[in-house]
């Protein structure tokens, strides 16, 4: 019965590359994605090393140099308190990136287990969860954000809480859908037949098979979170002054666009370009993931 070598039709003996390196190979071929990744890399590096990269202290204002348009000393000009715009933009990158990433982490932590358990257990837990999701999703997320931030008060921590409170819904729904379709597969049935409980199935099967859409959702959620933070800060509800945030700057100075255009145009441009880069990155990740994981095609 040693018919194995004869009937196998793959390249033998060489160990199959792990899916991580396969993913990277696919990703590398997407030039747009690589460009976006490089940009983000540079931007993140600038944000992390902000204290050394920024030419001025973003919190200290020079009252002799207020409202300056771009010049040799302050490359992007100064604001109403004499603070250097370029430095504030650099520190604003810290806010955007950390809000983007941390909010998705929080969403994953809340939404993943809830969705998985609801899908697996079914019954009243699932029913209750779906009703909650139905109701909460009929409230437009921006309104929900606004309500929450008005009640909680502006600030970084509250912002993450608000984003988790609105974002978990999408993640839970996604995960639940994945679990439901997984439950019908024979291998999950086999697993249950062997005595596998909810925890085992989630850890062994769900994470491996449903990871792609979850990762994609998180990756594409980052620019969404940035957008939300910018919008809320624009309205005065996100990151409060004196901390620097792009949306906040746009909001504070949008009335002065005629005289101090630099205070709104530069943050706007940086925000738009950053969001574009993150979106293209997420898209490239999705492409690479969907074509590199083992599936039924063989």
């Amino acid at each position: 019965m040693a018919a194995t070598a004869r009937t196998l039709n793959r390249t033998p003996s060489k160990k199959r590359p792990k899916w991580l390196s396969l993913f990277w190979l696919r990703f590398r071929r997407n030039r747009v994605g690589v460009a976006a990744l490089s940009f983000i890399f540079v931007e993140a590096a600038i944000a992390i090393f902000a204290p050394w990269v920024a030419p001025f202290d973003p919190y200290r204002g020079d009252f002799t140099a207020t409202w300056q348009t771009p010049n040799a000393l302050h490359w992007l000009g100064t604001d109403d308190l004499g603070r250097d715009v370029l430095s504030r933009l650099i520190y604003g990158a810290r806010v955007s990136i950390s809000v983007g990433v941390l909010s998705q982490l929080a969403i994953a932590v809340v939404g993943l287990p809830l969705g998985a358990l609801a899908g697996l257990r079914g019954g009243w837990l699932d029913y209750a969860l779906m009703r909650v999701i139905d109701v909460l999703s009929s409230l437009p997320s921006l309104l929900f954000y606004i309500l929450l931030m008005v009640a909680l008060g502006a600030g970084f921590g509250n912002l993450i809480i608000a984003m988790a409170a609105t974002g978990w819904i999408g993640m839970a729904r996604l995960v639940r859908g994945q679990v439901l379709s997984l439950k019908e597969t024979d291998y999950v049935r086999a697993s249950r037949a062997m005595g596998g409980g909810a925890r085992h199935i989630i850890l062994t099967h769900l994470l491996r098979n449903a990871l792609t859409p979850i990762i994609v959702s998180l990756a594409l959620g980052i620019p969404g979170a940035m957008f939300a933070e910018a919008g809320l800060s624009f309205l005065g509800l996100g990151i409060p002054s004196p901390q620097a945030s792009w949306g906040q700057m746009i909001g504070m100075y949008q009335a002065y666009i005629r005289t101090a255009w630099h205070l709104t145009v530069f943050p706007s441009t940086v925000l738009a370009v950053t969001m574009l880069a993150w979106f293209l990155l997420g898209d490239a990740i999705r492409d690479a993931l969907e074509t590199s994981t083992p599936s039924y095609s063989d």
Partner: protein
């Protein structure tokens, strides 16, 4: 017909349930805020409001009564569309503000809808009819642009380039058609994106359907096929997008009205936030949620009428 009646009833019941929960959430959050509209002590300390009004507010909001009674009072007032006086404009009630500023928002919304329908559906059709052509790629480019560009950023940039630098258009206000161009453009980003995407995929599905091949086999001209069969069938699923579209228009209005100084509800909502005008905030939230949910309901019903399979299955 009984099926449709049951469907409508269950959806309306759902709508009321949602509104109830939303009002509860709004009330709970506003109640939790220190200095909020339900904080009796804060009211006492308010300098600007005259004493007799304070007493009226106390009675109206039942500030001395237990929480649940306050909520019921709030509900009862809400149903009568009585949200009290605005804290930012103490001489006017919230409903007065609504009534007076309402038309601006509606005009902006309708113009945006018109523009984005033409552009969005047009682009979607063009992309589907000529796949992988430059038109298709342009359409994809447009949708990426709409996706990543926040509406308020676009609004600012438009304002900067067209108004400040080039002086072609006024920076704000709502007095004539020239004032409409930039706000409508900025507000159209989200709707164009949604409509274009839906129309494109819907058209593609319709074009690939079996009955299209039958029609061609019958010898009908390509254009006639397109218009009569494909287009009609492709349009129906796009109806479902009405709900999210309404939501997008509403939230978009906050930013666009603020930046272009259009005195609509969105503008007042944003300034209410800034000034912590809680009655205004609460009222706007509840009203907007009702409007959006109604939009979902209406589009669902239209879709159910257009495609009878929805109600017959009894499933949502």
């Amino acid at each position: 017909m009984k099926n449709i009646a049951r469907y409508i009833l269950s959806r309306v019941a759902g709508l009321l349930g949602v509104l109830l929960v939303v009002s509860l959430i709004t009330f709970a959050l506003m109640h939790a805020v220190p200095g909020g509209p339900f904080d009796a002590r804060a009211l006492e300390r308010q300098q600007m409001i005259p004493e007799n009004i304070k007493r009226q507010l106390n009675v109206k909001y039942g500030l001395d009564k237990p929480v649940w009674r306050q909520y019921l009072l709030f509900l009862r007032n809400a149903v009568r569309l009585d949200f009290g006086h605005s804290l930012a404009f103490p001489s006017r009630t919230v409903m007065q503000i609504f009534k007076e500023q309402w038309p601006y928002s509606v005009q902006l919304g309708l113009l945006t809808l018109l523009f984005s329908t033409i552009v969005g559906i047009g682009l979607g059709i063009a992309s589907a009819v000529r796949p992988n052509s430059w038109v298709d790629h342009a359409g994809t480019g447009v949708s990426i642009f709409c996706l990543v560009m926040p509406s308020f950023v676009f609004a600012i940039l438009l304002q900067f380039v067209l108004s400040v630098q080039l002086g072609l258009l006024p920076t704000g206000g709502w007095d004539g058609p020239r004032h409409w161009i930039m706000p409508v453009l900025a507000n159209s980003l989200a709707p164009v994106l949604v409509l274009q995407r839906y129309m494109r995929s819907s058209m593609r599905d319709a074009m690939r359907a079996g009955y299209v091949r039958t029609a061609r086999a019958k010898g009908l001209s390509r254009r006639r096929i397109m218009f009569v069969h494909v287009f009609k069938n492709a349009l129906t699923p796009v109806l479902t997008v009405g709900g999210p579209l309404a939501a997008g228009l509403v939230t978009g209005s906050f930013f666009v009205e603020s930046i272009f100084r259009i005195p609509g509800i969105g503008f007042y909502f944003v300034s209410a936030i800034g000034q912590r005008d809680y009655p205004m905030i609460m009222a706007t939230t509840v009203v907007w949620t009702a409007v959006i949910s109604a939009a979902y309901l209406v589009t669902d019903l239209l879709y159910a009428l257009a495609d009878p399979r929805v109600t017959l299955s009894g499933e949502k």
